[in-house]
Symmetry: C2
């Protein structure tokens, strides 16, 4: 009969600050981030609630007191409503709604409103949980992310997504919600264990492979320094990786992926499934390293990528210290097919629409394909197993 049509545009500013010692009282980055409203007005009287990753709080027993001292010194800005809330981090914490609910109850209790702040300090999983809580309390309170792992600083923490896992599927529940600001404090990486220092490198490799050959070459040049966790090399890798991820979000024309836009997810279809099969014992970055290796070999096997380039990719990942195999690759379904391949359909379904997988045409340039060849995929899985065996390590042959 009739129709009313209107269009709306919602604008967001994405800001990623790079700093050291964010909670040093002389560092004004956080104060500045919490000080001004988007319209330039000062919002003293507003509040801040801080959630903190348990592993960081354990590694740095002074951190809680330092955060409290920071807010005490900058007492003309938002008030810290209570001591930082320590929550379990790591991907497994995303397997229930519990922590989202817990943060909601604190937002209610301490009267954090849409103009107040939920500041989350931690790894990508904690930021995902806190981001979902912030995005859904009062339909969105301001969320400041202080990522504390290489991976979250280089990739997930600087993006526009949050989420928790459900029904055995990673990030089944979540929203697109750009944070108020992100603060990457390189100094916070120092207390990480080697696994968490390393895991994020792979997102830098991934985005270099599909977007920026020069960056890939600089990662090759820095590979030994990165393996030895030399801070300057880590900072270079993180900065450029974060920049390329932000450029992708800002340049896609569809940052919330409502149409056919896709995230920078080379190597991710299998990675998400491997994480789940490992019950999240594999770090996301460790799983992505395997996924990148798998799709690199597949790209070569279908004649898309030169063999020499494929070998450079695998070599870089190994030089950085990644294992390019996990026993979960050998987990079979009742028909004898690798369970990891079920990740293809789950990946398609999570993003919606047609299957879209990024493959490598050459180092620095990804291309999207809409179908995968099953037997070539099986070959690629076998090659990873053989490569792993040659390195003298035991490979679990099969597991129901």
């Amino acid at each position: 009969m009739s129709i009313i049509r209107r269009s709306i545009e919602v604008k967001y500013q994405l800001r990623v600050h790079f700093t050291q010692n964010v909670f040093d009282p002389s560092n004004v980055v956080l104060r500045t981030v919490l000080e001004g409203d988007a319209d330039g007005s000062v919002n003293s009287g507003h509040k801040a609630l801080v959630v903190l990753d348990e592993s960081l709080a354990t590694a740095r027993p002074q951190l809680i007191r330092r955060i409290e001292a920071y807010f005490a010194v900058h007492n003309d800005g938002p008030a810290l409503v209570c001591a930082p809330i320590v929550l379990e981090g790591g991907e497994r914490t995303k397997n229930s709604y519990f922590h989202v609910s817990e943060i909601h109850s604190q937002i209610d209790r301490y009267h954090i409103d849409r103009h107040s702040y939920l500041v989350a300090v931690g790894g990508g999983a904690l930021l995902d949980v806190a981001g979902l809580a912030a995005a859904t309390a009062h339909r969105g309170v301001r969320h400041v992310r202080i990522p504390t792992t290489t991976l979250s600083q280089a990739d997930s923490g600087v993006g526009v997504k949050n989420g928790i896992n459900a029904f055995g599927k990673k990030n089944f529940i979540g929203t697109f919600a750009p944070p108020h600001a992100v603060i990457n404090d390189f100094q916070l990486l120092e207390s990480l264990c080697p696994r968490d220092k390393r895991a994020g490198y792979v997102e830098a490799v991934k985005v270099a492979l599909i977007r920026d050959k020069g960056f890939f070459e600089s990662l090759e040049a820095d590979a030994v320094r990165l393996r030895e966790f030399e801070p300057a090399a880590m900072q270079r890798a993180i900065y450029r990786s974060a920049e390329l991820h932000l450029e992708h979000i800002a340049g896609s024309g569809d940052p919330f992926e409502m149409g056919t836009a896709r995230p920078l997810d080379f190597g991710h279809w299998s990675a998400h499934k491997l994480e789940q099969l490992s019950e999240y014992k594999l770090r996301h970055g460790e799983a992505v390293a395997i996924g990148v290796a798998l799709d690199t070999i597949y790209s070569r096997n279908i004649g898309l990528l030169a063999a020499t380039e494929a070998e450079r990719v695998l070599n870089l990942l190994e030089t950085l210290g990644f294992d390019l195999y996990a026993n979960e690759l050998a987990h079979m379904d009742p028909d004898g097919q690798p369970l990891v391949l079920a990740g293809i359909e789950e990946f398609r379904e999570h993003l919606g629409g047609e299957l879209t997988v990024t493959l490598l045409k050459t180092i620095g340039r990804g291309i999207e394909v809409h179908e995968l060849n099953w037997s070539k995929l099986l070959e690629a899985v076998r090659e990873l197993a053989e490569r792993h065996e040659k390195k003298g390590q035991k490979v679990l042959r099969a597991r129901g």
Copy 2:
């Protein structure tokens, strides 16, 4: 040290279709809505999951079969994945996360992806629950709303919000998520009980009062016809109300209320609190009628609104059949203050920032104020009680 800045814009099309007999096989509105992707491509192969308000399913026992028949006839569009899922509607259904979770599990089970559809058919509460589930599954599957109450067709169903209640606060948990489309089927209103037919009128009165004097006068002219639920008069009221609400969202420049933009919430600070105090026995519209009356009297008492205009407002609401009093107005806190007044701070906190309450300057023009006078508010509450007593009805004097 350094900062990366990017800006992003997210564009949405808001579409509200007006029709009759949406599930008649010859009606192509729903088919058209489900047929095309935003980019113009046809998305056959996609799926639709339908959730249906229990009270509607009870009032119209044929509806489930009619919905199934509709999809069977239009079998070149998205497939109906299962029989419509019947869920309890009404505000109290929003008091737990249970139904959100239940819809999530069906979205998972039937593989509804971001390009598939969750179609919700029901009152505002059911649409709020389904909207939250749709917005958070896979970070957003397409949500089609078919509102079936006067209120949801005139106001909440055509907006960009969803939500559930938590911590005793209405809509504490929710998101801003524009629906893929809204279909207002006037014929669906016929089986409503009188309370649900009437309740939505108040949102038309509300938006007329603060935005459109001519609309208010047409509501006055139609008042007896509306009281008698004459379909043509109801359709006129709903259409213009929906249009003004959409214009507000599209014209605010801040449709997700991240800055200082406010919804069209004249009379709502007390309404939300009254609903909660009544344990959601009061309909939202019934509570808003009292809230509009309260803020109209308050506007007059502080010398903002002419007495004759205030009386016109109260008369229109009463002619439409609204009670301008509820016993919850007499619920007192331990200090002898009306509990409803706690709604002021809860209202401020939900929207964030400075308290912003709309008052009436004249019929057709609201103005925003940032403080309320406590004793004048108490006077306004007393006046509603006295007006009610004069009408010969018993007023509960106080209740701890």
